[in-house]
């Protein structure tokens, strides 16, 4: 008779992986980084794997994913035989960026040409920055992305070893976008942890793009957390393009603190990926700060895309504006939760939120939930959510003018998506994304193995 082994829980297994590899994980890193791992582990053990019962994870139960994985961990950088910069060389001449490559969570020195970076700006591996720019990193590390508030943040902090560090000094404005390309490439199933930090000094400006890609068809779990500090009157744009294959589970967290008069714009474009959960938390910590955040997710097959946003209005006269849209095909599922908290001190707050969704089939499902907690009377707030279908009358109108049904549907979907794309302020990038979305809706961007920007060739 076969012996029945009691199955070890995912929490225990992940804890054991950490304990067994603790030395390797912490090697070469300062004590304050490694000391953050223990409380993170305790927080994770207390909160457990996100499930329907976990606060804020009602629509994304990750129990099965974590129970079934026994993936390799990328505790050391994998060596690649190719120059990744070469693989990703962008053939769109007008679209010129500073390229930063990250492979399996590790900053790729070899492929990143740091000599071309603007003067005064620090762009380097987070690992290096933890040693060489400890004062900068330590000030925010784990302070914006708090392990005790979110199990996925806790997991990231337990295992964090590397990622990207960007520091833009006061009064420095970078016009050319910084493009961080995160590549997953492995011959076996892989669990990747990446940790980034962006510090934008007073009155600085930068546009940052995050592009997520898979280069091989293995299964991946990708935990990617970015802490962002935006100084007084600084203007920061963060655009992300998620285009990983559908056997990837991607957990991203962007945690932002904004000082007085600063402006943040974000746009999250989800084209492909299996299970996607994006956490975006913004703390408006100074007066007259504004945050414009938007996202568009196009999903089909069994994809699951869950966007969770949380805006903390802590000071008076701040503005937040949210626009998220999903187009769901086949039996894909989506979720949007938009939390807005207006504190008693945040008088004259303006907070707007909209989430519109189109279901293309009966099997597709969308959950949308605003969460407004308003502890102040002097505010302007609005929120609206819709889950609908393609407008039949509009469809007939287009058909009655000679446009066939398929094309007419695409026109309407594209029109629906376009409102979000209009939020992208880099003209050339908007054009590129426009075309990507168009192709995605036509089903022509399938399992894209290369850079999103290469797809349009």
């Amino acid at each position: 008779m076969a012996e029945l082994l009691e199955k070890i829980s995912a929490v225990d297994r992940i804890s054991n992986i950490f304990v067994a590899n603790q030395t390797m994980v912490g090697e070469g890193l300062p004590a304050w980084v490694n000391q953050a791992r223990t409380p993170a582990l305790q927080a994770f053990q207390k909160m457990g794997i996100p499930s329907f019962r976990t606060e804020n994870y009602k629509y994304s139960d990750l129990t099965r994913l974590f129970e079934n994985e026994n993936f390799r961990r990328s505790f050391k950088p994998d060596l690649f035989d190719v120059d990744l910069a070469e693989v990703f060389s962008c053939d769109v001449p007008e679209f010129d960026t500073h390229l930063i490559l990250v492979a399996n969570g590790w900053y790729d020195e070899k492929s990143t040409n740091s000599e071309l970076f603007p003067k005064g700006v620090i762009i380097k591996s987070l690992r290096k920055a933890m040693l060489e720019n400890a004062d900068l990193v330590e000030a925010y590390y784990g302070k914006l992305a708090k392990s005790n508030e979110d199990p996925l943040t806790a997991i990231n902090t337990i295992f964090a070893q590397d990622g990207v560090f960007i520091y833009i000094p006061d009064n420095v404005q970078i016009s050319k976008p910084l493009q961080i390309i995160n590549i997953l490439r492995s011959e076996d199933d892989l669990f990747v942890t990446q940790r980034n930090m962006i510090i934008a000094g007073k009155n600085s400006q930068a546009k940052i793009m995050l592009c997520d890609h898979t280069l091989t068809s293995q299964q991946f779990i990708n935990s990617n957390i970015t802490e962002v500090k935006i100084g007084e009157d600084a203007v920061v744009d963060i655009y992300s393009i998620q285009n990983q294959h559908n056997k990837t589970a991607s957990f991203s967290g962007i945690y932002v603190s904004q000082d007085k008069g600063s402006t943040l714009s974000t746009n999250a474009m989800t084209l492909h990926g299996g299970i996607i959960r994006n956490n975006l938390k913004i703390s408006l910590d100074g007066e007259h700060a504004s945050a414009n955040i938007s996202g568009l997710a196009l999903s089909d097959k069994n994809q699951h895309v869950d966007n969770y946003t949380s805006i903390e209005h802590l000071k008076p006269n701040c503005v937040s504006n949210q626009l998220y849209k999903n187009i769901l095909d086949d039996s894909s599922t989506g979720a949007f939760t938009g939390r807005i908290h207006v504190s008693p001190y945040a008088t004259k707050t303006a907070a707007y939120q909209r989430n519109n969704n189109v279901l293309l089939t009966d099997a597709a499902k969308m959950n949308t939930k605003p969460q407004l907690v308003i502890d102040n009377d002097d505010v302007k707030c609005s929120h609206g959510a819709t889950v609908g279908r393609i407008n039949d009358e509009a469809l007939f109108y287009l058909q009655a003018r000679g446009i066939n049904e398929k094309e007419a549907r695409l026109m309407l979907m594209f029109a629906f998506a376009h409102e979000v794309l209009a939020e992208v302020k880099i003209d050339k990038l908007r054009d590129v994304i426009d075309q990507l979305v168009n192709k995605r809706l036509r089903g022509e961007v399938s399992r894209c193995h290369s850079c999103a920007l290469d797809c349009i060739r």
């Binding site: 039949d392 509009a394 009655a400 003018r401 000679g402 446009i403 309407l412 029109a415």
Partner: protein, 250 residues
């Protein structure tokens, strides 16, 4: 050109058209009048291919082809045009992109080369002048935020762009101011020739002063109950529909 025989159609289980017979030949203008709810728009939508309506009996051919065998877009490309009573707003779809796609779909269907961007804009400019539609409108999304009259004008502008062989204008005159009515009518008259035909659905004799019909039909409770020349419209304007209803019921 259009031959409708004993046509029955229903919507949501309710019979609306109950035996329509109508023949329209090239070069003719037909006016269809009738009380509210009698089925005029239903007839127009059934012909244009709206899937809300179910044809339960009868036939309709357009240039000899069975119209019900064709999808809505094919009917349009075969030369049938419906000017909607209530044109829908389509936010996010620009007028230019919409028209360019429509015009080129028509051209592809006829094995013609697609228009270049330049030629398309030239065509658009020409037709815009014809119906005197404001450039501000053609730079917006389809019908989005257009006034009632602007929407109607836009329908005729699209008709001018597509040059159909059979145009069904469903109450295009309602909502137009006096000047716009004249401009739109002029446009329709300019597009008229011996090879195409027009069906005007209207409540008002006034339109028929501008676009003179060869035949006037009265649609009542899903049937054409009276057909005559243009003088019938004048009679209806004076006397209303009661006498016709009485005739039918007698």
């Amino acid at each position: 050109m259009l031959v409708i025989k004993d046509l029955y159609a229903k919507v949501e289980g309710k019979d609306i058209l109950k035996g329509i017979n109508l023949t329209v030949n090239a070069g003719e203008v037909h006016a269809i009048m009738g009380p509210n709810g009698s089925g005029k728009s239903t007839l127009a939508n059934v012909l244009a291919g709206h899937t809300n309506f179910e044809v339960t009996h009868g036939t309709a051919t357009f240039n000899g082809k069975d119209i019900f065998e064709m999808s809505a877009d094919v009917r349009a490309k075969e030369g049938l045009f419906l000017s909607f009573q209530y044109p829908v707003e389509i936010p996010g779809v620009s007028m230019v992109n919409f028209l360019k796609t429509a015009v080129n779909e028509h051209r592809k269907y006829r094995n013609q080369k697609e228009l270049s961007a330049g030629d398309f804009l030239k065509l658009m400019r020409e037709k815009k002048e014809m119906v005197q539609i404001d450039s501000q409108l053609t730079n917006r999304s389809v019908n989005e935020g257009f006034s009632g009259g602007e929407k109607k004008k836009n329908e005729i502008f699209q008709m001018a762009m597509l040059e159909p062989t059979l145009a069904i204008l469903d109450e295009t005159d309602s909502g137009l101011d006096i000047d716009a009515l004249r401009i739109v009518s002029n446009g329709v008259n300019m597009l008229k020739n011996k090879n195409n035909a027009t069906i005007l659905v209207t409540h008002y004799q006034r339109l028929l002063d501008y676009i003179v019909p060869d035949f006037v039909h009265v649609l009542y409770e899903g049937r054409i109950v009276k057909s005559a020349g243009k003088e019938l419209a004048i009679e209806l304007e004076e006397k209303g529909y009661d006498w016709i209803k009485k005739e039918v019921e007698a």
